[in-house]
């Protein structure tokens, strides 16, 4: 089990080493002050595009849903629950088997959701998928609960004061991340 010694040698308290260290530190600071570009973006004016497969807020296709309840079963945060149809639909009992309760459908509480995506991966019909919406803000915690019919209406759209510039992050050997504008 060999060890390996690493960068950053020790020069003891040698004043010459110290002086050289001070010069190198200040020089590096100056280099970054002058020559190295920034790596942050001006967020609400510039927005970073998310990659495909990003686990954002959910899209629910109610037409594909078979009410199997797997999403609610697997949800680790108890965010997805199965809801009875609202508006008194429960008492109607118009189906072929009157004693079976009406089908339940999933609704989601984004105050609990942890965006693990287990529900999407286990959904046998593809009724759930991820959108790229991740930065919705709410004024009241109750608004974060989406019953099935609201859930089916899609994730909220995020509005900006000024239309933001969309940027795609690309790895860059010199800058770390550089940002390419997308149309």
């Amino acid at each position: 089990m060999g060890g390996v010694e690493e960068v950053g040698g020790r020069g003891g308290r040698n004043p010459v080493v110290s002086l050289w260290g001070h010069l190198k530190a200040v020089g590096t600071g100056l280099k970054y002050l002058i020559a190295v570009p920034r790596m942050t973006v001006k967020y609400p004016d510039e927005v970073i595009e998310l990659p495909d497969g990003y686990r954002g807020m959910l899209i629910y296709h109610q037409d594909l849903c078979i009410s199997c309840g797997l999403c609610a079963t697997i949800c680790p945060a108890n965010a997805i629950k199965m809801y009875l149809p609202s508006g008194g639909g429960g008492g109607e009992g118009g189906g072929e088997k009157p004693e079976t309760p009406p089908k339940r459908h999933p609704g989601i509480d984004y105050a609990r959701c942890i965006f693990c995506g287990f529900c999407v991966d286990i959904c046998p019909t593809g009724a759930l998928e991820h959108s790229k919406v991740h930065d919705a803000a709410y004024e009241r915690v109750e608004d974060m609960l989406y019953r099935p019919e609201e859930f089916a209406a899609g994730p909220p759209t995020v509005e900006f004061e000024r239309p933001p510039k969309r940027l795609r992050p690309v790895m860059d050997e010199r800058r770390g991340i550089s940002y390419e504008p997308v149309g």
Binding site: V4, G21, K24, G53, C116, F118, D121, E173, G176
Partner: protein, 393 residues
Amino acid sequence: MSGAGSGERTLELLIGPQHPASGHMRLVAEVDGDVVVRLRPDIGYVHRTVEKIAETKTYLQTIPLIERPPLADTANHNLGYVMAVERLLGVEAPPRAQWLRTLLAEMNRIHSHLYGLGIHGIMLGSSTAFMWAFGDREIMIEMAKRLTGARITYSYMIPGGVRRDLPPGFAEEMEKALRYLERRLPDYDRIFFSNPVTRARLEGVGVLTREDAIRLGVVGPNLRASGVAYDVRRARPYAAYPELDFQVVTRSEGDSMARMLVRVGEIRESIRMIRQILARMPDGPILAERYAKMIPPKWRDYVRETGRIKFPAILASLRPPKGAEAVSRVEAARGEAVFYLVSDGGPRPYRMRMVTPSLRNVVLFSHLTRGCRVADIPAIYGSLDYFPPEADR
């Protein structure tokens, strides 16, 4: 003034839990002038009873739970837990999944170490080290986001394999990212690691001898900085580590500087490992055949084309045999993480023991600070890369 009545020499300082450099914990320091006589860590401010909650969740649902405490280092703990579950179930992930797990674990190690270095920087007053490390951490987070779909809480490894295959173009982008990090490390060295002020603050401060490190059961870079070449990746190799060429970074000084430099060395080793992984990754399935054949037939094409697994329904209720027990250990970024699972045949763990690296390092607070200066407290704290939620769980 309370705490310093007449005739008393010492003053009791309560550092935290609301203090810029305490994290979610309290350090009760008894100081005599500028010298710390005694320091007692008071932890538990972010305790969330993960072990109890795990008894109410299924084996799969426990994965995100495991990821919460060690927030900067989710992948390694995810891996350790999944390894224990696989041992309970007697299932093994296919080779490609093992390599993908190792890839994410090493990416996570880099960004976790950068997180630790950044926090250490700001504790010493170097805002530049802090901002740089947190900025460059973003490189690995961005790459992990492309691989897993999430920035930090990946939940990427599941019993039997991983959830997603490499996205197109990943290796080329990663190579650029790694070259960038390699270019940056010398600048970190010039402005922070070798900065004479940093060296004055860290060299010879908080020295942990080899004997004490072993006796106290310290883990991770803190252990290796005291000259003990123990690394689970070498002592009991798991995932793809048996096939990777890497060195266990150690130093002999045992001081705060050594602990920091071991982390820097591990970042370099992780860069080397990621290169090897991407160059030599075997082809093949990413989910064990036992579960892959249970994926609904209509999704087989989707899985093949996108490289994203659709869960078979059985994952929602995995049941290991009654009475089965499993221990697993992984080298997480901050040190060894140990998982101990006991099954009663039901779909939920009967007992889930999660021993995180920070829990095992908490003993160092009182040990290393005896006789140090008040200003050394953050210097030593930062050098331990201690993360209160990880210790409290």
